[in-house]
């Protein structure tokens, strides 16, 4: 019950990790099924329809329900600690954000059980996703599930922007913020300006499918390319929403395990800002073959190639941080170091794809599949593993097992390259993406088999990680404040896991890498900016959970409003929009309650802090 009502950012972080991890396993299982189907030519492991559902759900689940929530898990667990804050700006909205994401994801995944999963690809292009070509409720699950989950992401973005702007500890200027905080700051801004576009896109898609609107219905004047524009105006910034936090994690990990200040901190900050900015002007490079014309293609081509410059700055900064550092090799730093060459390869194929004329050759082939898995798995997922191993003790009070961790690294790293490196060549040889099978003797057979073996190896790595979690959870909770000894930032100054109130006294920040600076000055602790006093805490609340359940019910209500039901009573409830309205009443009722009844919170008194202080 405590977990349903919590507004503590650290607990919400753990909830995000559990839910995101669960969806990651589902998405991973879908990937394995896809690879089994493609293991040999003319396999009939799954049908063509099932294959379409699998690829759609694999992409959608991984992007929206697995890696984004795991990013949010680390954001929640670490950002307030890194900036010396006691909480996020809006604890209630934080909880609401988690529950809307969770119920949106649940709704989307229930499609497997209720009438078929979405089958129009994760990009859900029109007219393939229209009622004409996608006759099940699959795409409705996609549009409504993502809509509900998207609310959570938008709320999270606003929350972290305000938290980082308003709640930094005294002395922590913007240019003293840790790199992960900077990355999350820019990511949140991207979320704020990118997600409303997909909100509108999904609304239009829903209206077309459920209420007979004509946005993409060509017969009545609609325009299918409009969907592509709206989707990618969101979709490309989304790519940077995913990768920037990974850049932040890698910067922290490399700096800590090189025992060196991050090389070129200010250039790193500006590179992050520049990537965020340019990320909004490149969306049409996903549409080079849609026929926008040479001028548009040339402009978007150049803008895309420009992004390689700030990204290159980052790569060199990481290399120069490693250079001459006193390196420690553990799972976290191995993932970070493995990230660098892998991500560079993804970047290089990105520049290749950015060239519009060449893209006509690569488009819709396995070359593209290889490219985006290199940046998202080889970039983001490596970054997430690195960050999870790095911050696990701060989240759970236990250091993950190093041997099992390295097993995860090596199997996952080798399995990853085995799966996807070869797909570049499959693509260049002409194997199209999103086909459910292929004929023998086209030169695809061996490479697909190798790719599938690699996928299984990644599965082994993931299982090793799960075992690691179980083994570690059985150990005593004995991680010290600073388990890596060389921690540089404020989160390592407080107990692991962090107490409810984070900081007994708000710290005073006297430079970049506040903790490291004090260590070098011979101090054991970061000085406090205030005397010990009573600490105000927000009250837990069930309303966020309730509001999200309301949206979940309303989603089903709208989706099945025009269906026929065996039971006339159930039919009456759905066909008259009673279910949908009931759901909305619950949600808006929750908003009403929240507005009318003010939360006065509660206080932790100094005496209690002293008691807890002794224990820690």
């Amino acid at each position: 019950m405590d977990w349903l009502t919590t507004v503590d950012h650290k607990k919400i972080g753990i909830l995000y990790l559990i839910a995101g991890g669960l969806f990651f396993l589902i998405g991973g299982l879908e990937a394995i099924l896809i690879r089994i189907q493609l293991m040999q030519p003319k396999m009939d492991f799954v049908t063509a329809q099932q294959f379409n559902e699998l690829i759609t759900m694999h992409g959608t689940t991984m992007i929206f329900l697995a890696v984004m929530p795991i990013i949010f898990a680390l954001m929640n667990a670490i950002i307030p600690l890194q900036i010396g804050a006691r909480d996020v700006a809006f604890p209630f909205l934080n909880s609401l954000g988690f529950w809307t994401f969770f119920f949106g994801g649940l709704l989307l995944n229930l499609s497997w059980l209720v009438g078929g999963a979405p089958d129009a690809g994760w990009t859900s292009y029109m007219p393939l996703a229209s009622n004409t070509y996608s006759t099940t409720h699959g795409v409705d699950f996609y549009s409504i599930g993502l809509q509900i989950a998207g609310i959570g992401t938008l709320l999270g973005g606003i929350n972290f922007l305000v938290t980082i702007i308003n709640m930094r500890a005294p002395g922590m200027t913007f240019m003293r913020m840790p790199m992960f905080t900077w990355a999350v700051f820019i990511t949140s801004a991207l979320i704020l300006f990118a997600f409303p576009a997909i909100t509108v896109g999904l609304v239009l898609l829903t209206f077309d499918r459920l209420f007979g609107a004509n946005f993409f219905e060509i017969a009545n004047g609609g325009n299918a390319v409009l969907w592509e524009h709206i989707f990618w105006i969101f979709g490309h910034p989304e790519v940077y929403i995913l990768i920037l936090p990974a850049f932040g994690i890698i910067s922290e990990v490399i700096s800590t395990f090189s025992r060196k200040r991050l090389f070129g901190y200010s250039s790193m900050v500006f590179a992050t800002i520049l990537i965020g900015f340019l990320g909004f002007m490149v969306w049409a490079h996903h549409m080079f073959t849609a026929g926008l014309g040479p001028v548009a293609n040339a402009l978007f081509s150049i803008a895309t190639m420009l992004i390689a410059v700030p990204t290159g700055i980052k790569i060199f900064n990481w290399l120069f941080t490693l250079w001459g550092g006193q390196l420690t090799f553990n799972t976290s730093s191995l993932f970070a170091i493995g990230f660098i060459p892998t991500f560079v390869m993804g970047g290089v194929t990105g520049v290749m794809l950015a060239s519009a004329p060449a893209d006509f050759q690569y488009h819709d082939s396995y070359f593209v599949v290889a490219h985006f898995h290199y940046v998202i798995v080889g970039g983001l997922v490596f970054g997430l593993f690195s960050g999870l191993f790095y911050w696990w003790p701060k989240m759970f009070g236990r250091v993950l097992n190093e041997k099992l961790g390295q097993l995860t690294f090596w199997t996952f790293f080798i399995g990853f390259h085995m799966t996807f490196f070869i797909q570049h060549f499959l693509g260049l040889m002409g194997m199209p993406r999103r086909v459910f099978t292929y004929l023998p003797n086209q030169g695809f057979d061996t490479m697909n088999l190798i790719s599938t073996i690699g996928a299984f190896l990644m599965g082994v790595g993931t299982i090793a990680f799960l075992i690691n979690i179980a083994v570690t959870a059985a150990k005593p909770k004995n991680a010290p404040n600073d388990p890596w000894v060389d921690g540089r930032t404020l989160e390592w100054t407080i107990p692991s896991p962090a107490p409810e109130y984070n900081f007994k006294q708000t710290p005073l920040v006297r430079g970049l890498d506040a903790y490291w600076k004090e260590k070098m000055a011979g101090n054991k602790e970061v000085p406090a900016a205030e005397p010990v006093g009573s600490i105000h805490m927000p009250s837990p609340s069930i309303i966020p959970f309730m509001m999200s359940v309301g949206l979940f019910i309303a989603g089903f209500g709208f989706m099945f409003a025009k269906d026929e039901f065996a039971s006339s009573f159930v039919g009456m409830l759905f066909n008259n929009y009673i279910v949908a309205i009931l759901g909305l009443v619950i949600t808006f009722g929750g908003m009403f309650l929240r507005s009318v009844f003010d939360d006065h919170g509660w206080h932790i008194e100094p005496e209690e802090l002293e008691d807890k202080g002794v224990k820690a």
Binding site: A89, F90, L154, G157, I158, N159, L161, V162, I165, N166, M167, L192, F193, A194, F195, P196, A197, T199, V200, G201, V203, L204, F207, D208, F211, G212, A213, N214, F215, E217, A219, N220, G221, G222, N223, L226, I230, I233, S534, H536, F592, S595, V596, D598, H600, H603
Partner: protein, 206 residues
């Protein structure tokens, strides 16, 4: 609660909405939210502009739109923006009575606008300009309807806030709510200015 208690005994600061960290967070968060809302309406406007000539079997805007009704609605909504400024000014003077009165005027004007809009939509549907008629009609109703839904939400929201002020009075907890409702109301007025120009005036010119 010690810091809160000091403010509650009648010693409200000049800008009570920014007196506490919670208040400052709320105001900044709301401005950012409006940034997101701008992208939302921007996308809806882009969709409308892309599809506004695609009238299929339906009537074009030049035949459909009745500028006098729309101009009246515009006048009402812009006036309500002014009255909401008066409410915020009264908030800064700590004049609770004037603040409530101006908020009530704002809500009444908002309801008047909504009434005109519903009447207008009924007329259009009557003339065969339905939601499903064409890409133009779908995008028209979606854009203008989204704005109308925002006005309706604002009316209900400000109504609830008025009731809260009656019960709780003006405090550092209630002040930020009134303040952000004010900026919300301005935002939907600004959006309407664009709708009036892009949808109706440009639509009438053809």
């Amino acid at each position: 609660m010690s810091s809160h208690a000091e403010h509650l005994d009648g010693q409200l600061p000049h800008e009570p909405e920014k007196a506490t960290l919670e208040g400052r967070n709320k105001v900044l968060g709301f401005w950012l939210f409006l940034g997101g809302e701008s992208v939302l309406f921007g996308t809806l406007f882009a969709t409308f502009l892309a599809l506004r000539d695609q009238i299929a079997e339906g009537k074009p805007g030049t035949e459909l739109f009745q500028l006098p009704t729309v101009a009246l609605a515009t006048f009402i909504l812009l006036t309500s923006s002014l009255t909401s400024v008066f409410a915020t000014q009264a908030l800064h003077r700590h004049n609770v009575k004037a603040m409530i009165n101006w908020l009530i005027v704002t809500v009444i004007l908002g309801l008047g606008f909504l009434g005109l809009e519903i009447y207008e939509f009924f007329e259009y549907v009557h003339e065969g300009h339905k939601f499903t008629t064409s890409a133009f009609s779908s995008s028209f109703y979606t854009l203008v309807g989204f704005h109308g839904a925002h006005v309706a939400f604002g009316v209900v929201w400000i109504g609830i806030l008025i009731a809260q002020i009656f019960k709780k009075g003006l405090t550092v907890v209630t002040a930020p709510k009134i303040y952000v409702a004010g900026i919300y109301w301005h935002f939907i007025d600004v959006v309407w200015v664009f709708i009036f120009t892009v949808v109706y005036l440009m639509g009438k010119v053809g």
